[in-house]
């Protein structure tokens, strides 16, 4: 009887929410039929049927979230009755979702992040819970919300032994072996996450006295005058990712000021010559292009620090932080070094429109190697951004202002744009970042070099 499992719809997806079931139990299903809509942190995608038959059971209701690999429905001949234990099995298993979003106003999602990126607070808290939920512990001990007791967990004997040795609760660990079996690699991944996650004190109701029944993990007590708002999935993911990025990555910051007087003139010329329908080139598009060309010259900046190694990326893909209602996304312009500024402008415009319409696809969000966050339109004198892992750096661009600058001893009014680069000090050092910034500055101050 084929089980329909929560699919992995992106490289970084850990769990998904059933948005809406399009089929109901008893419906006939053909291969390729859309069974349900799955909400991930970033997008809503279709769950397709890979088997034909009758949709016998729905194991996960609308609005419920389960890790990838967990059965969400059963397609069969139509004879199967709904069995409660299957529903439990579907709900049991790893939680610990991790996902999208970006850094402050300055980051986004990238493939491969999951492997190295700890879920700081979540992991620490869960580890403690895991340690306490030892086999002999009374059932009253803190069982994480959403995970039911007694469900059978598939784990290899070795994984079970390792979990026991480290005092881990298998229910907290996601199995990626056949049929969702927890294997050695899953335990090792989990331990690695824990190791990388600083032990953050997370107030959790785990210290409840053994005799007392565990309190239902209630919403944090709010002062009477305040309103409690549940974050959206994207907001929750952003919150997690920011903690990960800021805690795991030692940031350094290097700032400079760029004279963009000539750049603005060039932009005006470019846009004046653009036809009616042509997209206007923005300052940000030119900054993206300058960064891409500088990354060509300084490949060490176009890198990642992963699993203790430096990964140098061949492609130069630049993420642009896009402000959207109650969130932030960082779609990616691929091969920005190879594209002309008009092409970059066209793509950026299309991505921003898609972002605001919440139509970005997984492919639009993946693969960034460097990011640009621009608050220039908001009258910002300067700011620093949080790196968007696994990228090594991000450039924060502030507003252009007219300033008096001494030229030949005389005050001259020039257009000045302050920028601050945040860099991962595990890969990059201050002087290298400064040299890279000098190149960005040189390019922007000699803007015809951007048209080559």
């Amino acid at each position: 009887m084929p089980e329909v499992t929560m699919p992995r719809l992106s490289d970084t997806m850990q769990e998904g929410t059933i948005g809406r079931w399009l089929k109901k139990p008893g419906d006939e299903v053909k291969r390729g039929d859309i069974l349900a809509e799955i909400e991930t942190d970033k997008a809503t995608m279709d769950l397709q049927a890979y088997d034909a038959g009758i949709l016998e059971q729905i194991l996960v209701g609308e609005g419920e979230t389960v890790p990838i690999g967990q059965p969400v429905a059963i397609i069969g001949s139509g004879e199967g009755a709904r069995k409660p234990e299957q529903r439990e099995a579907a709900k049991a298993g790893a939680k610990d979702g991790r996902a999208v979003a970006g850094a402050a106003v300055a980051a986004g999602e990238r493939p491969g992040t999951a492997a190295g990126a700890p879920t700081a607070q979540v992991s620490a808290a869960e580890a403690r819970r895991g340690a306490e939920a030892a086999p002999a512990a009374p059932p009253a001990m803190g069982v994480p919300a959403g995970i039911e007791e007694g469900a059978r967990i598939k784990a290899s004997p070795l994984a079970r032994r390792m979990a026991a040795e480290h005092g881990l609760d298998l229910r907290q660990i996601q199995g990626r072996g056949p049929g969702g079996r927890i294997e050695r690699a899953d335990i090792e991944d989990y331990l690695e996450q824990q190791r990388m996650a600083p032990a953050v004190a997370a107030p959790q109701p785990v210290a409840a006295p053994v005799e007392a029944p565990a309190p239902t993990p209630a919403a944090p007590a709010a002062p009477p005058e305040a309103e409690v708002i549940k974050p959206s999935r994207m907001q929750a993911a952003i919150a997690r990712r920011m903690v990960e990025a800021k805690q795991a990555i030692p940031h350094i910051y290097v700032s400079t000021e760029i004279d963009v007087t000539d750049l603005l003139a060039l932009r005006q010329t470019l846009n004046a010559s653009a036809g009616e329908d042509e997209v206007k080139v923005s300052i940000n598009d030119l900054v993206v292009k300058a960064c891409a060309l500088a990354l060509e010259k300084f490949p060490e900046v176009n890198s990642s620090f992963q699993d203790g190694q430096f990964i140098r990326h061949k492609q130069i893909n630049i993420g642009i932080a896009v402000d959207i209602p109650d969130g932030l996304v960082v779609p990616v312009i691929r091969d920005a070094n190879l594209k002309g500024v008009r092409t970059i402008a066209r793509e950026a415009k299309a991505l921003v429109e898609k972002a605001r319409a919440r139509k970005l696809s997984q492919a639009d969000l993946e693969g960034g190697t460097f990011s640009v966050s621009n608050l220039g339109m908001m009258d910002v004198t300067s700011f620093v951004a949080i790196i968007n892992p696994p990228e090594a750096a991000i450039l924060a661009v502030a507003s252009v202002r007219k300033q008096f600058v001494p030229v030949d001893g005389q005050p001259v009014i020039r257009d000045i744009m302050p920028v601050t680069m945040s860099a991962d000090h595990r890969i990059l050092y201050g002087a290298g970042v400064a040299r890279f910034l000098q190149e960005v500055k040189r390019l922007l101050q000699n803007p015809y070099s951007l048209l080559g």
Binding site: S156, P157, L158, A159, R160, R161, R176, G177, P178, R181, E183, R184, A185
Partner: protein, 329 residues
């Protein structure tokens, strides 16, 4: 060290043992005048004469029984059964006599008997001439069953077999006779019940014997060269007694194992080894142990069907790719 074929290693060992101990004699069909169906005994009749190299009629039960009687009286017969397929005729002699006489008669007379016989398919010899029946004997207490995969092991283990005071089934393989390998000089012996880690690896263990151990070595070498996987190969060499410790230690190291055997899968060597592994290394297993064996049909004569039915390198590769730990897949 000298490089030689598996065939040459057996021939030279038999000749040396005939020279070393006058109680040793060879007996079997076509081993004298015809010099053996697979030429293992070439030249030996001429050198040692018809009392030491005895041609028999086609009567396996007769000459195996004769050899057992000779062994009871102190000789050290080395029987050649032309292929293991014909051993069925002598089952009573082997299972009810050779394996039990020492026990049932209060240890009065040991049975220093060796039965050499090749098994294996792939030569288009069809269903009744291509079998691997060694597990029948490995099942019986009182017998020793060994199955070397290399010329060096064949030489050292045949010496041990002939000098052992118990009945030994010495399993050869038609497809191994022409394989070559380095053979140490000197009168070395290889004790039974000692498996060999033929190749060290860390991702998973392939446990095998006889020709499939040789195939596993090739596969492991290829995978290593292509920088794909580090496969450990354990050649058990001796099915009874079985060296469980080496197997268990390897599984404890790699946490994943495949048993690779040319015979049929059900009730096979793999079944025995898998049972042992789960008994003694359960907490070290990261995945179910796989068995790779031949399809359970009488082996077809037609070449494409024979190829499809017999296990081999491709089947092992598929299993390895299936079982390899996630990071390495």
């Amino acid at each position: 060290m000298a490089e030689m074929t598996y065939r040459q290693a057996l021939h030279d060992t038999l000749r040396e043992e005939l020279l070393r101990d006058e109680n040793v004699f060879l007996i079997g069909e076509e081993i004298g005048v015809f010099e053996g169906s697979y030429k293992i005994t070439a030249g030996l009749l001429q050198e040692f004469g018809p009392k030491r190299v005895v041609d028999t009629p086609i009567c396996e039960n007769g000459f195996v029984g004769l050899a057992i009687g000779a062994a009871m009286l102190g000789l050290r017969p080395v029987v050649e059964i032309m292929t293991i397929n014909f051993i069925t005729l002598a089952m009573d002699e082997i299972v009810n006599h050779a394996a039990k006489i020492y026990y049932m008669f209060g240890g009065q007379c040991p049975i220093p008997l060796v039965i050499r016989t090749p098994g294996g398919g792939g030569q288009q010899l069809a269903a009744t001439h291509s079998q691997n029946l060694e597990v029948w004997f490995a099942h019986v207490p009182g017998l020793k069953v060994v199955a070397p995969a290399t010329p060096a092991d064949a030489r050292g283990m045949l010496r041990t077999a002939i000098r052992d005071n118990n009945p030994v089934l010495f399993l050869e393989n038609l497809a191994l006779y022409n394989t070559r390998g380095e053979v140490p000089d000197g009168d070395y012996t290889i004790p039974f019940g000692q498996a060999k880690v033929a190749r060290e690896g860390k991702d998973l263990t392939v446990i095998s014997y006889s020709r499939m151990a040789a195939v596993a070595m090739d596969v492991a070498r290829r995978l290593e060269e292509e920088d794909k996987l580090s496969v450990e190969v354990v050649d058990v060499r001796s099915l009874r007694p079985l060296d469980r410790e080496t197997i268990i230690n390897s599984v404890k190291k790699t946490n994943r194992a495949i048993v690779f055997e040319e015979d049929w899968r059900s009730y096979g060597v793999g079944a025995e080894i898998v049972a042992t592994v789960q008994e003694e290394a359960f907490d070290y297993l990261d995945a179910p142990v796989k068995r790779v064996a031949s399809v359970e049909v009488p082996l077809p004569y037609a070449k494409p069907l024979e190829r499809a039915a017999l296990t081999g390198a491709q089947q092992l590769l598929d299993a390895i790719n299936d079982l390899a730990p996630r990071r390495r897949r």
